[in-house]
């Protein structure tokens, strides 16, 4: 037995003992008592049963909520306006830029001569620019924006220290411009997900910390006694990201293969401990709020939270299955990847269980439709991820387009859909204006949905076939390349639809900022309820 395994065993033993003691302590101290009552924290008294949705007329809510409550919420929403908009508008810009780079890289995969004369547009630079623009530009900035909007609502007070967040957004944007520029000039740090030169990374650490100040200040002034589960996810994500980003970017610290383990420990934690908590935190707020009914099991949501923290933090090394690193390390990550099904199932029970009996609402409410599909895709992509970590599956899918399809199922069909849905909820409240054109929302929805469907299906099939053939040395390598071409072309078609959807979304977003369209006394739905009645 190597000393490493002995140390592992000792840690496991100590950990389970501590866990057991914690459990006994929490039962003895009634820590499990906040049950369903706590799930109602997000509602005002008497609000349960009334959905809050841009799809629901604000007049109706005003009538049914006590005036003071309504005004307090309106105040809370308005208090975060500048901070939220500064992060959100930037994120929409980076979404457009990131999509353009993504589409270009996809096209270059089957048209190698496309724009091939310039070193600034070569595939190996455009592809990481896509990844970094959509991860740190779109997903992170939109996630922070929505968190900034939800914080005052969750704590039922005004946002405190919003100006720190605005400065944070400025620094973060400067970091993105410099970082993407550096990749474009060939100054990448060379590790996937960590391409930005480490000197520039400091801007993200400071910018992120500045965005965190309002969260802490507002938590201090809160008027609710219980912290709703969404704020748990936000608080934790806020601790995790700077920690991860700082360690993984330490220069000259991790040579050779230990650099690879740090690289993938970080890369999967950006998904698991940064964008995932933000995404499911938002869904935990939006779904019950729009429905007007609390989530079905509050206790499960807390178990889900802690098991996510415990298991997700150790899955990263499944990206190196079969690689030149100790076997115990890979096995540890595989075990945790499979254990991830526990938090995923608890979240699924809560999200989808709360939806039960209300699926007809998907027809009207843009927010609910985007958020719920996103939540469903979280379940799907996470369970797929657990399977993919198994050695018998990974031996086929590793090094293929299958992984790329899986990554987009998670980052796009799950996370981006939830972010889109939340934006449709937030903007009318910040701008005191309804979305101008409901057909544009429908167009956005169908373009991105069909786009991601084509994307994921084609690359999943193509990637699987590629993986099977790679294991058979009798198949010449170039035959595999030729075999994948139609799937890569299909991906470009899917990607074009998604990009077109983003242009529609960004156009509508700008129109909203400028308050275009008519003054409406009713919200913008997928279907016009008044017309339905008259028919």
């Amino acid at each position: 037995m190597t000393p490493t395994i002995a140390v592992l065993l000792i840690i496991t033993f100590l950990l389970s003992t501590v866990g057991l003691l914690l459990l006994i302590w929490s039962i003895a101290n009634n820590q499990f008592s906040h049950g369903q009552q706590s799930a109602r924290t997000i509602f005002s008294p008497g609000e349960e049963g009334i959905g809050e949705d841009p799809a629901e007329a604000p007049q109706r809510q005003k009538q049914e909520l006590p005036d003071a409550e309504y005004r307090a919420r309106h105040d809370a929403d308005q208090s975060s306006r500048l901070a939220t908009l500064s992060w959100l508008s930037s994120s929409v810009f980076w979404l457009l830029l990131g999509s353009a780079y993504g589409l270009l890289s996809s096209a270059k995969m089957h048209m190698p001569e496309l724009l091939a004369n310039s070193e600034f547009l070569t595939f190996g630079r455009v592809r990481p620019m896509h990844l970094n623009a959509v991860t740190y530009g779109w997903a992170s900035m939109a996630g922070i924006a929505i968190a900034l909007f939800l914080i005052p609502r969750l704590f039922k007070t005004r946002l405190a220290g919003g100006r720190f967040a605005v400065i944070g957004a400025v620094l973060w944007n400067i970091g993105l411009v410099l970082g993407l520029g550096a990749i474009n000039l060939g100054l990448s740090d060379g590790k996937e997900w960590l391409e930005f030169p480490w000197q520039i990374d400091l801007l993200f650490v400071i910018g992120g910390a500045l965005a965190a100040i309002p969260l802490l200040l507002t938590a201090k002034q809160r008027t609710v006694s219980h912290l709703y589960v969404t704020s748990w996810y936000f608080l934790a994500a806020l601790v995790w990201f700077p920690f991860l980003f700082l360690i993984a970017n330490l220069p000259y610290t991790f040579p050779g293969t230990s650099g690879a383990t740090v690289n993938w420990w970080f890369a999967h934690n950006v998904l698991g401990l940064w964008v995932t908590p933000i995404g499911i935190g938002i869904a935990y707020y939006m779904i019950p709020k729009i429905m007007g009914r609390p989530i079905i099991s509050y206790q499960l949501s807390l178990i889900g939270f802690w098991s996510l923290a415990l298991f997700y933090s150790q899955v990263g090394i499944h990206h190196l299955v079969g690689g030149p690193i100790p076997t115990w390390l890979v096995t540890l990550s595989i075990v945790h990847s499979v254990m991830m099904s526990i938090p995923v199932i608890t979240v699924a029970i809560n999200h989808h269980g709360t939806m039960m009996g209300n699926f007809h609402r998907l027809k009207d409410s843009p927010t609910l439709r985007f958020v719920w599909i996103g939540a469903l895709m979280y379940t799907v992509s996470s369970l797929q991820g657990s399977m993919e970590a198994l050695r018998s599956v990974n031996v086929i899918t590793h090094f293929t387009h299958y992984t790329v399809a899986h990554a987009h199922l998670g980052m796009y069909a799950f996370l981006s859909f939830i972010l889109f849905g939340a934006v449709y909820f937030i903007m009318p409240r910040l701008m005191n204006w309804e979305w101008p054109w409901r057909r544009l929302i429908a167009l956005h929805f169908w373009l991105v949905s069909i786009g991601i469907l084509i994307y994921v299906v084609s690359l999943t099939i193509g990637g699987w076939k590629q993986g099977v053939e790679l294991l058979t040395a009798d198949t010449p390598f170039m035959d595999i390349v030729r075999m994948t071409l139609p799937y890569l072309e299909a991906r470009t078609i899917g990607g074009s639809l998604m990009t077109a959807g983003h242009i529609v979304f960004a156009f509508h977003f700008v129109a909203m900022l400028l308050r275009k369209g008519r003054l409406q006394d009713q919200p913008t739905l997928f279907r016009n309820p008044a017309r339905e009645v008259s028919q």
Binding site: V7, A236, P255, V262, P326, L332, T400, L471
Partner: protein, 201 residues
């Protein structure tokens, strides 16, 4: 505030544990690994070439990590070499293990394709060497000259790909990159091969 603090401290402790198992312990174990005696450190020029490899994102399509034949038999049978061990990467910072095989593994490309001419031609126009290749050309690493100077290496382009007049010569960058690629030769025996992975989940 107390509860918010408890959540944040709990979250930090859990991540600390993960850092211990996934960062610190592998670092301690792998930095103690034996470096294969036949592995040579990169030369100055090869390191320059390695930077060109990084700058142009070769890693997004090429891995450098053949797997154990008892696990994934294709890797060895395609001639990509024996399974790699941590010691093989002693001089690789940052690592370039890669996660994609749109193109073949390059752990031993220097042994598979030892010809400098081949590499220059392939970088200048991949399709001229490998029919239907989807690798992009790296023409921006080359320049056109009317007449060849004394120190210039000429890219030996076959008839349909050659310019009508003059010659194509590699820049210093292209030469450094080829130097690096030729150094990717780990055909020496590895003192510490990983144990075959018997358990298959």
């Amino acid at each position: 505030m107390k509860r918010a603090l408890a959540i944040m401290v709990g979250a930090a402790l859990i991540l600390l544990l993960a850092t211990l198992t996934l960062v610190v312990m592998p670092y301690l174990q792998m930095s103690a690994e034996q470096v294969p005696p036949d592995l040579k450190p990169y030369t100055e020029r090869q390191l320059e070439g390695r930077q060109i490899y990084i700058a142009n994102g070769c890693v997004y399509c090429h891995s450098q990590q053949p797997r154990d034949p008892s696990f994934a038999s294709g890797d060895k049978d395609r001639g990509w070499g024996r399974p790699s061990v941590p010691g093989d990467y002693a001089y690789d910072t940052p690592h370039l293990l890669g996660t994609m095989r749109t193109g073949p593994d390059l752990f031993n490309i220097g042994a598979r394709q030892p010809s400098k001419d081949w590499h220059l031609l392939h970088l200048y126009n991949p399709q001229a060497v490998v029919k239907d290749s989807i690798m992009p050309p790296y023409r921006f690493l080359f320049r056109w000259v009317r007449s060849v100077g004394e120190d210039d290496t000429v890219v030996r382009l076959p008839e349909p790909y050659a310019p009508e007049e003059g010659y194509i010569v590699p820049t210093e960058q292209a030469l450094a990159l080829v130097d690096y690629l030729l150094a990717l030769d780990r055909t020496y025996p590895a003192p510490t091969l990983p144990e075959p992975e018997k358990t298959q989940e």
